[in-house]
């Protein structure tokens, strides 16, 4: 009794102070569920909010719950939208969020969005509604143009960070760079590498000149070597540089000044870009290699063979490396001997259309795992892999937290034994106890899912394609992976039995995606009925095509009974694409005609 009354009078300020040590949103979510008092204290003091699915909660409600929020991170479309499996106009609109924040959270300083649709009007509003706005990070977004960027540049007086990663941005000319006001001197990080168009070089140089705090600068392909050299001369303290076009002729003045400028960059830790790089310009980079922790050559198909080997041998402190498979197993072997600190490796395919001579195989991966025991994050596209290699890799590198292997040909067996890859991937989950993210490929039976369910206890995200035999496969995963948050499946023979095996499981997860599987409308309806807290969305491909053709002006509206043919009584029809997610927001109000929420 005494303890209880002592707790009752515990000052809020002290609790709030204790909460300030909890930075991760998982922890903050947890303490907010303890009691009403803690819920209230927590929500008023939360500064950073992370919403992994923008439809899990209505924007107004989120903004009202956290009036003091400074930083919001939002994710929109399902992950498989990256690979064109989600039709355009599906949703993921940033507008309602920015409007809600404008009404309730005037202190907003940072907005991070991934796979969302942002319009120029949204960006205009952003510029005007938040006087303290400092950082905008957009990853894989679309729907806006350089006019929107101009609006942000113009209006955000204390902008520190503008980070555009792999967005589809409509180019309306280079003038947006002029929109940074002359008094804007606060820039710390500017990344416009994904812009396709020309850039006003003089404006860029002037902007850099008046940004003494600039630490990260990533240019786009339109910036020539001459400008790059001038820029680097202005900020020798750069820590992260994305080059523009690295094409320069021998002994040209531009090349010489680049060499001199780079030599002054003692703090440079991360390099990317390398557009159109000539072997000569690679030489210019050598002086900074010894201190590099991050190197991204994944847009530089000409860096291969001996050029790559010569370069990478200098990069002894490298922790993060992104390359194309054109470096070959040989290149990876050199990485393994030179880069002992390597933690993250991504090897992308350089030629998607030709199955030419094998570029990287299991040999390269085994070499890396042998030479780089600190490796914990892998994305590897290859033409050939074996079970024994995977087993070796998993033993050499037990610290994997992210392991994504894409064998380019679906359902390909182990060429050495003609067996499926169950044992290889099974070894990964057995030996790597901290595995949080897993993507598997090649020929796989239900057995691999048995292993995943049994051993992958820390697993949070699983991506499956062209794998499995029966419903049992998916069931193993749903039953065994206690921490599963995201499950995405395509082209697997899982049906209603698997879908309905453990319906309450989906409430513990962020989302489930299933496409080209064996589920029926009946099964989806059953799921929706049993679990009202989930949105069970079906994407009707035929409807999506019609919408697209209407938008393109190709077809006239023939029928406006949009969902009529969905519901013609035949529930045995297969569902092509299913997206299920937990939500407190109810069915979404912005669903296009081709999305049917059951």
């Amino acid at each position: 009794m005494k303890v209880q009354s002592a707790m009752f009078y515990f000052p809020e300020e002290v609790i709030e102070h204790i909460f300030s040590f909890l930075t991760h949103h998982h922890d903050r979510n947890t303490v907010s569920t303890v009691c009403k008092a803690w819920y209230k204290i927590e929500r008023l003091s939360r500064r950073e909010v992370f919403v992994g699915n923008c439809y899990a909660i209505r924007p107004d409600r989120a903004a009202a719950r956290f009036p003091g929020l400074w930083s919001l991170s939002l994710k929109g479309k399902p992950h498989f939208a990256d690979f064109d499996l989600v039709p355009p106009d599906w949703g993921g609109l940033a507008g309602p969020w920015i409007e809600a924040l404008a009404r309730s959270c005037p202190n907003l300083e940072e907005l991070r969005m991934k796979r969302m649709v942002v319009s120029d009007e949204n960006l205009e509003l952003l510029g005007h509604a938040f006087p303290k706005f400092k950082a905008l990070v957009l990853v894989s977004c679309e729907g806006f143009s350089t006019d929107g960027l101009a609006a942000v540049a113009r209006s955000c007086k204390s902008l520190r960070e503008l980070d555009l990663q792999e967005n589809e941005i409509e180019d309306r000319g280079p003038r947006w760079l002029n929109s940074f006001p002359d008094m804007c001197t606060s820039l710390v990080s500017l990344n416009f590498a994904c812009l396709k168009g020309e850039v006003n070089l003089k404006s860029l140089e002037r902007l850099v000149c008046r940004s003494p705090n600039l630490k990260c600068l990533r240019l786009n392909r339109a910036v020539p070597v001459e400008t790059l050299a001038k820029i680097i001369n202005q900020c020798p303290n750069l820590e992260d540089l994305g080059t523009g076009s690295l094409l320069a002729d021998q002994f040209s003045e531009a090349y010489v000044s680049l060499v001199c400028a780079l030599q002054k960059c003692k703090k440079l830790r991360s390099l990317s870009g390398f557009w159109d790089v000539s072997p000569l310009c690679l030489l210019a980079v050598y002086p900074v290699c010894a201190n590099l922790t991050g190197l991204n050559l994944s847009y530089a198909p000409t860096v291969q063979g001996q050029d790559f080997i010569n370069l990478i041998q200098h990069c002894v402190k490298l922790q993060r490396l992104w390359v194309l498979d054109s470096v070959g197993d040989k290149g990876l072997t050199v990485v393994a001997s030179a880069c002992k600190e390597l933690q993250e490796l991504r090897v992308f395919p350089s030629d998607l259309f030709a199955a030419g001579p094998a570029t990287v195989t299991e040999e390269g991966l085994v070499a890396i795992s042998t030479g780089c025991p600190k490796l914990n994050s892998l994305l590897y596209f290859c033409q050939s892999m074996t079970n024994s290699a995977l087993i070796t890799v998993s033993k050499n590198c037990p610290n994997f937290t992210r392991f994504r292997l894409a064998i380019l040909e679906p359902r390909k067996p182990d060429p050495a034994t003609n067996e499926p890859f169950d044992e290889g991937f099974g070894a990964v989950v057995k030996n790597c106890k901290n595995l949080r993210r897993f993507s598997i490929s090649g020929l796989l039976t239900d057995q691999v899912f048995y292993y995943i369910g049994k051993y992958a206890k820390a697993l949070e995200m699983l991506s499956i394609a062209f794998a499995g035999d029966t419903d049992q496969g998916m069931t193993y995963v749903l039953n065994g992976c206690k921490n599963l948050r995201k499950l995405e499946i395509r082209d697997c023979p899982f049906g209603d039995g698997a879908l309905l095996a453990d319906v309450t499981k989906y409430e513990t997860m962020r989302s489930l995606w299933m496409s080209s599987c064996d589920i029926s409308l009946r099964g989806c309806k059953a799921l929706a009925t049993k679990m009202p807290s989930l949105n069970v969305e079906i994407i009707n491909e035929w409807e999506a095509e019609m919408e697209e053709n209407l938008n393109n002006g190709v077809a006239e509206v023939i029928s406006n009974n949009n969902n009529k043919h969905f519901n013609n009584g035949n529930d045995d029809r297969k569902v092509e694409k299913l997206y299920v997610y937990r939500t407190v927001g109810g069915p979404r109000s912005d669903a296009p005609d081709f999305v049917w929420t059951l």
């Binding site: 003045e253 159109d276 530089a300 198909p301 030709a354 033409q383 679906p410 359902r411 080209s516």
Partner: protein
């Protein structure tokens, strides 16, 4: 309108239904009239499209035929109005792939690469292959696909390259060169819109003369021979100051 298949919700997916290539003809679909034949061509054109040096089209295993519908953003004339067709085509083929194995599958979204990367790599590969082929001290001519030649201008700090095959005549070439070198005319390129007209004026007033080096190593005035002959024999371009070009021709280069 009824959905394409009786007991398929939309297109492929699921086992047991033979949506083989032969059934595609009977599918009800939206699209332009004549988009069906385009769809058939899709398999062929894909092999030829992206890799200029790719020797044997078609009969490779695996992803020789992998496409993605992100090309709707990309342009590639073959794709842009066959989106509906390609959508159903890839589904039909994907389910055909389940039966036959992946040898000729056109699989949407596989390998799992972001559209942004695919689009960027498509242009990166094309451009750098051309650069690589012209990287030596003499620009090599690649007769199949493009013809990059170096363009130098007196007083400019670095050279540029142009693909002569992109232009259909002298006028287009000169306009392109004007744009490219507008930054280097006297007075600098501070304001692009001004210097563009200025360059044009300069070229017309013969302060600068466009010349080229032909196969024999001689420096010639651009414009004397038919365009096609010029393209075949041109190895390098040079924008000379009028005063340097006296030996070549007494008259100004007539751009019209």
């Amino acid at each position: 309108m009824s959905p394409p298949q009786d007991h398929h919700f939309a297109g492929g997916g699921g086992g047991g239904v033979a949506t083989g290539e032969d059934l595609k003809e009977t599918e009800l679909r939206l699209g332009l009239p004549g988009s069906a034949p385009q769809e058939k061509k899709l398999g062929l054109t894909l092999d030829l499209l992206p890799t200029k040096g790719f020797a044997s089209a078609g009969a490779k295993r695996g992803f020789s035929d992998a496409i993605d519908t992100s090309s709707r953003d990309n342009g590639g004339v073959m794709f842009s109005n066959a989106v509906a067709a390609s959508g159903s085509a890839s589904k039909a083929d994907a389910s055909a792939a389940k039966e036959k194995g992946p040898a000729k599958a056109q699989v949407v979204g596989w390998p799992p690469i972001r559209s942004y990367r695919k689009n960027t790599m498509a242009t990166a590969t094309t451009k750098t292959k051309d650069e690589a082929s012209s990287a030596g001290p003499e620009p090599k001519q690649n007769p199949n696909s493009c013809l990059y030649v170096k363009v130098s201008m007196d007083g400019a700090p670095y050279l540029r390259k142009v693909d002569l095959k992109l232009y259909s005549g002298y006028k287009e070439l000169s306009i392109a060169l004007e744009k490219m070198f507008s930054g280097f005319t006297s007075g600098g390129g501070k304001d692009e819109s001004h210097s563009e007209t200025r360059t044009k004026d300069l070229l017309n007033k013969s302060e600068y003369v466009l010349t080229y080096e032909d196969k024999d190593g001689d420096w010639m005035l651009v414009g004397d021979v038919p365009w096609v002959m010029f393209v075949e024999s041109c190895k390098k371009l040079k924008i000379m100051k009028g005063s340097d070009a006296i030996g070549l021709a007494p008259r100004a280069k007539d751009q019209n």
